[in-house]
Amino acid sequence: MYTGGVFMIDGRLSSGWTWPAVVGALALGLVPAMSAGQGFGLNDVGSCAVGRAYAATGAPCQDASVIYWNPGAAPSLRGFSFYGGAAPIGVAGGFTADTTGHRYASNAPVAVPPHVFVNYAGQLGGRAASAGIGLYVPYGLTSQWPASFPGRFEAQKASLQTFYIQPNVAIEVVRHVLTLGGGPVIGHSTVELDQALDLAAAPVAAPGVPPGTTFGLLGVAPGTQFGLATITGGATAVGWTVGAMLHATSDVQIGARFLSAMTFHYDAGTATFKETPTGLVLATGNPVGLPPGTPVDALLAPQFAAGGPLGRQGARTRIVHPLQAEGGIGYTGLPGTTVDLDVAYTGWQSFETLPLVFTGPAALAGLNRTLLENYGDSWSVRLGAEHLFGDSARGITGRAGFSYATTPAPPVTVTPLLPDMNRFNGAVGVGFPLTRAVGLDAAYLHVFTRGRRGRITERTSPAQTAAELNSGFYDLAANVFSASLRLHL
């Protein structure tokens, strides 16, 4: 079903994909995904920026990734620039249950979000100007848990893959002082949510059983899986971005960027359900009044048939990708050295709910849900520096950085879908020339966290608190390796 970054459904492309998007993804041979930033945000856009722990707005890297990090600074490049690469992200995380003390390690696959930028900078009417385009992954997520994980009923696997295509134009507004840039952003996103179905929450339809009785009230333990739901979909949205670069003095520069929020409506999604054998049998004298030894699975099978509540059907959801605003100050007064201190804000408050709406029999069976997220806005402080060892033509650039990001997830929304928590990022990087025009950047970033209490069950009412729902401890660490090819002509 999952083939090289493209969702295949019965041999057809899922409806949300457009051909340019497919071609782009196939050409890269890479899979956009994984969360190593705040929420399901990703900042791994270019190896230079990764090596600086994402401090790249006040004093942008001298490569075409400036289109993302500060669209207004793109005219600072000279001539034709290409910058492309990828950042494999490996996440090590787990959940330790209060009830048993057992730790369940996540098994999220390594994800490889790509980035490609092309820019041309020259003179326009005596002013520095540029035009370019970029493809990058600002939002992505893959969380995946083993089949034994008790939180699989909240999320067995969650995958959000969003890439933005951003044409950019920029021009020097005040000579040698201020440049501005910006442009539209076209985003494409695919989403997959695999969720185990819990028999304990399923209603019992049997003569003599009071309405509203669930299998849980008949003794079935919560966490008894009887099926797996897979919801997939794709969507496209449009937004915009602007950036500015102010050269306050010869050594001090101030940069800022803004990326608008984009709402993706995954309206043509698909929901499929697969029955999972429970192996349960009804005991002698069971309250349902059926013969002892009756397999529970046989009672449930009709639910999965075509036309049944758990038959294949349509589904839709909506996910807001929040706005980003970042500003920073750069200092270049030391020979060969650039220091950048940025502050970033992400408008996660827009991620309030996650609706799951079925357009088939499941809706009539009352299976539509709205996951309560209630995210808050988040902040990040990023400090990075780089120093050129040697001359500008053949020298090697060393980079390092540290950043801290607050989580947008409130204590009541630390879930298997996204067990988000505050993050510390430490990074190192290097850039070295391969030829006069070509260079290679490489970086490593480690995400440190202190872990956080969270839940594995659904929050069904806003009145429910973290103290009531949280039943264990999530831990998380991540390693990001990034490599980018840099070309200047």
Partner: protein, 404 residues
Amino acid sequence: MRLPRIARRPLAASTLLVIAFASACEQKELVNGPRLTGKDTLFASYVALGNSITAGFQSGGILDTTQAESYAALFAHQVGTRYAFPGFRPPGCPPPIVNFQTGARLGGGTPSTCALRDPSSVTMALNNVAVPGAAVIDPTSPLSPNGNPLTTLILGGKTQVQRALDAQPTFVSIWIGNNDVLGPALSGFAFGTPTPVDSFGLRYDAMMAQLTSARKGLTGILFGVVNVTQVPALFPVDSLIADPTFKAEFNAAVTGNPATDVPVSGDCNGAHALVSLEIIAALQSTTPGHPTSVDCATQAPFTLDTVKQAIVSQTVAAYNQHISTAATSAGFAFIDVNPLLAQLRARGLIAARPDFTSATAPFGPVFTLDGFHPSALAQQLIVNAMIAAVNTKYGTAIDTVAHP
């Protein structure tokens, strides 16, 4: 990367700024640290397996308040570990008897009344998986003839062992086997005889093997089977012969009229037989072939002559020998509650015969209105004996429960 000296100062200051910001933001997370469970790893996850006594059955019924009085609940509280039980909503499933004389049940319920599980008690891991009516075959068998609605309502299609393992136990208590002799004894062997010792041993071993193979290093305590000839639901026939007042009360319990004589067979004289309380319902029955007198012959129903008493006692002794050996083999503690019962009987806390004139305490303070399920007081006495055995075996210092 080594920066020029002059550059390190602003960089260092900026780094401190970032770290200070990070530290300030992290402060709020400290209140969300991991929650500790259990006093130590020995009792990190405790699960009780068993039958009605462990489940918290009292006076022929069960609901969340009686369940909370089980020795298993008390033990979990004493060791400070999680305890989730399959709570039943009031009035119960079935509701307990509240009047011994009339048989009235809580909330006006009947023996077939069942309020389902309390939704708040529906949880992934139960710490008490005991099922009323379970015999030694049941912890490993989903389809034994001992099944009843409570089997499904508590276990949901699994066995006790499977449900216990869901909680990944580090410590278990197992009290199983009473129903292998109780039912036959109360019927005077009319509806079956005690489970043969060999079969009992095989089934017990299968249960232990499933638990200990799935949970390496499992610890626990095994309870011996009660010698059911000592429960007050079985009382001496001599009382009916020698005490006219008691006989009149018995007549009234059966017929509603103390003057309406219920015949006692002549073979009861000097037989030292025990009479089951279940004989009252049998005598009241209109079913063809139902007993019309108290008969003490070996083949007679609802009485235990000395032969049948010996069979019960010898069978229980053999069961307990096997359980004790199983405990030694598994490295578990073992407890035989029969000395405790004998002590309570000697102190007069267990009535030698029912008080048919009492609506609420016909058997004394230790047994409830059905004559064989322990009271809340008895559960406290049981847990204290259990704690003593655990402390001895594992060198722990668990406090006992205060009781009247």
